[in-house]
Symmetry: C2
Amino acid sequence: MANLTIALDAMGGDVGPRVTVPAALQALASNPALKLLLVGQPDAIQPLLAQCRAEQLSRVEIIPADGVIANDAKPSNAIRQSKGTSMRVALELVKTGQAQACVSAGNTGALMGLAKLMLKSIDGIERPALMTILPNQQKSQTVVLDLGANVNCSSDMLVQFAVMGSVMAEEVVNISKPRVALLNIGEEESKGLDNIREAASVLKETTSINYIGYVEGNELLTGKTDVLVCDGFAGNVSLKTMEGVIRVILSLIKSSSDQNKKRSWLMQLAKKWLKKRLMKRFGDMNPDQYNGATLLGLKGIVIKSHGAANEGAFKAAIDRAVQAVEKQVPERITARLNIVLPRSDQ
Amino acid sequence: MANLTIALDAMGGDVGPRVTVPAALQALASNPALKLLLVGQPDAIQPLLAQCRAEQLSRVEIIPADGVIANDAKPSNAIRQSKGTSMRVALELVKTGQAQACVSAGNTGALMGLAKLMLKSIDGIERPALMTILPNQQKSQTVVLDLGANVNCSSDMLVQFAVMGSVMAEEVVNISKPRVALLNIGEEESKGLDNIREAASVLKETTSINYIGYVEGNELLTGKTDVLVCDGFAGNVSLKTMEGVIRVILSLIKSSSDQNKKRSWLMQLAKKWLKKRLMKRFGDMNPDQYNGATLLGLKGIVIKSHGAANEGAFKAAIDRAVQAVEKQVPERITARLNIVLPRSDQ
């Protein structure tokens, strides 16, 4: 890999540089080919690099940007006033080719709007979608999109999501002929909203996609499908519900205490062991550990981190960016669209 | 309680009488005031009562109905051809006052359509909603609706759901001034679909409802709200996702085995005990144990059981029906609507 440079919106997220900069250093330590551009207020970033080793320091550059987009800003306003903000400058670095990808934990709506404005959608994609890859019960992974970039999705958009999801499952998860399903509230053909039923009838006729039908929310983690296509509202509800349920259960396991204090030290030991094992087993589904949704369908690579991401989680989002660069995600999607979708301009 | 008679669609569900009849006997055993009308094919039901004690037998009556609505039938067709089916006869018993409630594990769409046709909506309710009551992390319970009765919900319908949900939280969960939230994909006011934003602005002005704003899917089990109002599509996705995630995690706990075979028998014992304890702790969130969604907003009481419910789960659905009769749910909702909602006919 000749060049692997990623721009980080160092000011984004609930905490800002105190999370993003240490995460950046972790990422540099684990990948010697990586170069990072830290975009933000130099006064806030510089002190956090004080303990950094010289070798790592040589692979970091601070790109000054004074403005910050507030987490609760209305996206349309934020975008209008985005000039000079860390988020926008980070995206500009991708646009000009100085970086191959951008990672931000900032305002989701603003990031999506700005990214689309500056990097443009791939031809054939109406609107980009937020995508993540979840572990499933079959010890494989499921590509899920859209997770909330679009509250209203036409049937055409759902079909485009299906194409992009297929490419991700093939290129990133390494599944050949990945199964593609639409999220619905029943498995019968007559179920659900008009846009979903229309997308189903198109997908059934699209031979290059291995469409298997509708699945319901309970199949999110079972591995019944390799790609789960959702409208943005339902996709967001499903992912957030999953995260919430896992958090509640992890906290139940953590707090489960023995009411019978007389039990032996061996029982205490067994409990400790089992807790540790369960935590580890669920670890890759723990929202504090996996992180990073890809904004798919743009001509550049943009990764959205959780706003509340901690160091490890923000580092995971940087890893996702590295992976997307290595797998040449936008190029692969473009190539596939040229095969699958009828081009309106031809 | 002078009269507590419940009609069971004995033929409904994936299994039919072999689940519904034993569940009925369990319910009779646990509630000496209960009388049950088993609606269905006498030849299929009668043999299952063979071992029944005389006292219980005196509180069971078989109501013959030869037809059965198929689980995969298209609701509109099923309703047209419903005459003489167990589901329809069970609903007729509620309509004529011979039963105070009906429980069915049959075709959801057909049950909703038929119930509305035969029992009629309460004045002021456009369309009934499917409601359930989930345990939450605050050791209380959350009322959630709509779970899929309506794929398209107007803002008026969402407001009506909020009223019905409030009544349930007050009367059944015993919470005074229950907090009511709308399910959305962000907490900011500008987020989400038009119908949700419109419902929010109405609820904000409705002083008799304690509206607290939007919550996201991750709050389903945290107890941040006492009533969670959703459009039917998102509500169904959220509930099903929760069920799926819990099933996956329970199966992980069950199957978690010790790779180090050398551990002592005492350790094995401790582990076994601990697993059992965890399973019990999650039990009240286990979809195999809680069951029964109430079709809220009708002039009669109708409980929808999971189609795949086992004996214990179908018994839980009967318990929900008993509770709804005792709490006089339709009457309470009617009374509240007269206070809260402007009546179009006055």
